[in-house]
């Protein structure tokens, strides 16, 4: 830490938006507001306003829709002794219950957290962030929101674990007569759900979190929108 966050909240901070400029989210370069594309890195320049939230909500909804079949359909089908000992189809939750049944509590917790808790928390967090984005907030609230955003962005891709587990098990456990595991349709919809929520989190513009802070030039700010 050089210039600490501790001294930051004291004075209003000059932002690119307040200066009538546009910052590039990809490389940080600052351009006049009529620029559409960053000349340095070639990324599209987007003003930090609530219009961008449409993308967030669109991907969010797509992710939520795909999450329903991901829980209803079986994730994988296990066949032991050519079906003589029964072949079982397990959805995500049934898989967790099965793991607990065999006493693998630690793995059951990992799978439960990765494929149930994390996706749920992600949907709720993104929805909440998108709803409060741009609303007035204190500096502490803004820091909390940014933290949540960073956690969501970081953790999103880890939900893909479940898809990989199914892939590895299906490739590995092909013991002919003894046991075999086949992937179920839920694997696809779960993978899509994770991908869509990742896109949703990426579409969220964290600069919006800070737009709602009380500013010295608040009226100017509103006039610009």
């Amino acid at each position: 830490m050089t210039a600490g966050a501790d001294e930051a909240p004291l004075a209003p901070v000059m932002t690119a938006h307040r200066a009538g400029l546009l910052g590039c989210r990809s490389c940080g370069r600052v351009w006049p507001q009529d620029h559409a594309i960053c000349d340095r890195c070639g990324a599209a320049l987007v003003p930090p306003d609530r219009r961008g939230l449409q993308y967030v909500w669109a991907w969010w909804l797509a992710g939520l829709v795909m999450y329903v079949p991901a829980n209803l359909f079986p994730m994988m089908r296990t066949q032991t002794f050519a079906g003589l000992q029964g072949s079982s189809e397990a959805t995500i939750l049934e898989g967790v219950v099965e793991l607990m049944h065999y006493g693998n509590y630690d793995i059951a917790i990992i799978v439960f957290v990765a494929s149930v808790i994390v996706p749920m928390a992600k949907f709720l967090s993104i929805a909440w962030l998108a709803m409060v984005a741009g609303r007035p907030a204190t500096v502490e609230q803004a820091h909390t929101r940014l933290k949540i955003y960073e956690v969501v962005e970081f953790i999103g891709r880890w939900s893909m674990i479940d898809v990989f587990v199914v892939a590895i098990l299906s490739a590995l456990v092909q013991l002919g007569f003894v046991a075999s595991i086949h992937p179920g349709p839920a694997a696809v919809s779960f993978a899509l759900s994770v991908a869509f929520t990742m896109l949703s989190a990426q579409s969220f513009d964290p600069r919006l979190i800070w737009r709602g802070l009380p500013l010295r030039s608040r009226t100017d700010d509103q006039g610009k929108d």
Binding site: P12, L21, C41, L146, F164
Partner: protein, 240 residues
């Protein structure tokens, strides 16, 4: 090497053109990508770390010799990935029945019916993107490390390197393997192949690479080394 001093608490009137930056065109300024706070670009020494005055996010952390290290680590990634593809990955056996799988086998597990697109997605996420990102990074950094002008489209190459970062999931795949192994452990005996260890090594390489990576420094180096821009570059000396 680059930024930044801070415009903290200073209200600058538009048209203010103090030395080094220009509030009407944005020359010599940098905006925090997370909170939009403006910072004045300034040279940082290797080893220094710059955080945003407002949100505390990391803005720049130039490290000495980072470009060469990043290039070396990119090559390491490609070599390890080649090993991971061609060596056996996992092998199980039970009651005389055995099955070995390579990385391709894992992806092809989804190769029937509706699951077919998932084969491609899994291969891209665990093999394709890490290798592609390594090549793009070498393409961007190789000329910069030698102090020459960057290749054409270096800026685009680096932007894609960063865009694809969240989709490159080799490390998640390794954790997935660990979970799968515990699930299988009761069912059969498992042997770990060289490809598995190559993947574990990839995680370490990835972590090291992340430690040397400073996007701001690389963007600035691309610009300094003369990728065609509009010539507003203000870093590294007095502005005319």
């Amino acid at each position: 090497m680059l930024p930044c001093a801070l415009l903290q608490g200073v209200y600058l009137a538009p048209m203010d053109t103090r030395d080094g930056f220009d509030l009407t065109t944005g020359r010599g300024l940098m905006a925090c990508p997370r909170c939009d706070a403006l910072h004045v670009e300034e040279e940082l020494d290797a080893g220094e770390t710059l955080r945003c005055v407002r949100c505390g996010g990391l803005l720049a952390k130039p490290r000495g010799g980072a470009f060469v290290q990043l290039i070396a680590l990119s090559f390491t990634t490609v070599v390890l990935m080649m090993g991971a593809i061609f060596f056996p990955f996992l092998e199980i056996s039970r009651m005389g029945f055995g099955n070995a799988t390579s990385l391709f086998g894992v992806a092809l597990a989804f190769a029937d019916g509706v699951l077919l697109p998932l084969v491609l997605a899994v291969m891209v996420m665990i093999v394709g993107l890490p290798v592609l990102r390594a090549f793009l990074l070498v393409y961007t950094l190789a000329p910069l490390a030698q102090g020459r002008a960057p290749y054409r489209h270096a800026a685009r190459a680096f932007r894609w390197t960063e865009l694809l970062r969240p989709w490159s999931m080799a490390e998640i795949f390794v954790i997935g393997t660990a979970v799968a192994l515990v699930k299988v452990a009761g069912l059969a005996t498992v042997h770990l192949g060289p490809a598995f260890w190559a993947f574990c090594a990839l995680i370490l390489v990835n972590l090291a690479s992340r430690g040397f990576m400073c996007q701001t420094t690389i963007w600035d180096a691309i610009e300094d080394a003369g990728l065609p821009t509009d010539g507003r570059e203000a870093v590294g000396g007095p502005v005319p």
